[in-house]
Assembly symmetry: C2
Homo-oligomer: 352 residues x 2
Amino acid sequence: MNNRLKRLVNEFPRYRNIDALIITQDVNIYYLTDFPTSESWLLVTPQKVFYITDFRYIQEAREGLKGIALIKQQTQCLAATLFELAKTYKIKRLGFDERHTSVACLKKLKGYCPRRTKLVPANGVVESLREVKDEGEITIIRQCLEVHAKALEMLKKVVKPGQTERQVLSFLEGFIKKEGVKFSFSPIIASGPNSAYPHAKVGDRILKNNEPLLIDIGIDIKGYKSDLTRNFFLGRMTPRYKQVFVATALAQKEAIGLIKPGVKVADVDTHARKVLRRFGLARYFGHSLGHGVGLEIHENPRLSVKSPAILEEGMIVTVEPGVYIPGQFGVRVEDMVLVTKQGCEVLSGNYY
Amino acid sequence: MNNRLKRLVNEFPRYRNIDALIITQDVNIYYLTDFPTSESWLLVTPQKVFYITDFRYIQEAREGLKGIALIKQQTQCLAATLFELAKTYKIKRLGFDERHTSVACLKKLKGYCPRRTKLVPANGVVESLREVKDEGEITIIRQCLEVHAKALEMLKKVVKPGQTERQVLSFLEGFIKKEGVKFSFSPIIASGPNSAYPHAKVGDRILKNNEPLLIDIGIDIKGYKSDLTRNFFLGRMTPRYKQVFVATALAQKEAIGLIKPGVKVADVDTHARKVLRRFGLARYFGHSLGHGVGLEIHENPRLSVKSPAILEEGMIVTVEPGVYIPGQFGVRVEDMVLVTKQGCEVLSGNYY
């Protein structure tokens, strides 16, 4: 059993004392096994770990999965196979994640569940482990950010007024291909008033002089991700834009200044809002301040007033206040920050 | 209210007499509104339709959605906003899909649900409408297949022994970009023994002479999809490969011969298996015979012995028997078939 699986099992007592956990999310299985997967389940017990899959994936699993028992689904469905194991290994309290289990799936599970096994809600067990990154993970995310910085440097050189948003996208696509990496999400390339849409789609709009160009992209290496927003400006900034940009950047800077282990994420979010309020801009800031980044582009902790989370060493979060003025423009200043022992490190600090 | 929404409302009495339906799946909302969406909900009542979204998407929705009431989420969550509407419009039996609703989400919904509203399981209401394609949908899928045919023609010309699987993928990527379309799923390009993996990943294996090359790709236009598998062979086929290929193609041909309105999908699947059994190959055919294709790459009806579905005019399904001999090779012969009034039309018939 590898370290991550051991840490997972150590969490069982904290989750209503489960004695086994069924994991159905691909990304969680990948985190625990280092094996990219789909349509397969992982059953973790303190003694043994089982990978349940069907004939389509069994051959790859045989070659790629080490130290984990492979179970080929023989009966009609994964659920039936799962509970045969539950019977054999005398599982009493089987944890499942209510957020990753559909109502229909739970009904099916209950239909197959033997009398001696109880299905117990156990939410976010793997996700909470994933919040704190280990050295290996931090290294890969640094790699993502290095490639990301090169992408931004390239854009600075080639992007000109007269091009379309889609052309900017194709510069990026060429770069990605050359570097042998992937996007971590569908890029946002929003020119002029399009920048006022927080989730703008790339379109055929032509970039004009004296206009902002908001670029929110991410690089994916081995499943790990970067996520940064940069605000290019072609030509001369209007005084209004400059004011908004400075206010947003200041809100970010002050928020980052608060980040260290033990701090409530809600306080960091609240502070960024307070800074924007000083400029009369808080009402244009409609989303939360940031989110964890790792194997998923949005993961815990969320930097939100609603979250009870507390920052810990090893967390990597975005800090991204945004001001969106409909019909005019939007500014979002987004960097990635690693929580360190004493405070934090802006991982993307020097990348324009 | 457009035709699809009207047809949807007409289905309500068949689904435990619901008087409203909440739709959370992006693809179903797109089908009903023609508006690409994410993280938003659609509430359909016989009188009125509501699109519930938050500040991030409201502006696009305002411009793109016609004839549907826009509701901006004001409170903490979509669920709270939903049940305010349920109260105002006196909804008594609100349908939800158990397969698209997580256990956690249902708990949340129940927490907000007013006393006079009952949450009623109503599964696959939109999906069942989507099974039968209208003229417009068939036209787009034909377009996907035309582009698909061009891709195959291109491959026939450029693929040579000595290239890697990944190089073949990059030919396809260049083509896709030039044509301005997308892949409908991550391509399968499996050379030699890799073809024995039904869901092989594209790798660095070098294509050799006298070896099979299995190519399973799809084209996406406006969300609609194609899905075909072709078995290239570089050089001379071995007698064993030829025998397996002929048997698989025959199983497909005979199965297609059965397709017409009123036929049970289970009978079509069973027949294909029977043909392969004559050649002693049925045990290598581990998946079902095919599936519906439309806005999703796999949708109903499934051509499976387990399915109770009956074919109807306007359905589009793949017919794809496959024989996978571990360590040796795999063959999958996959075409797309439209169920017509009298029988069927192989939509991809003339494409290599």
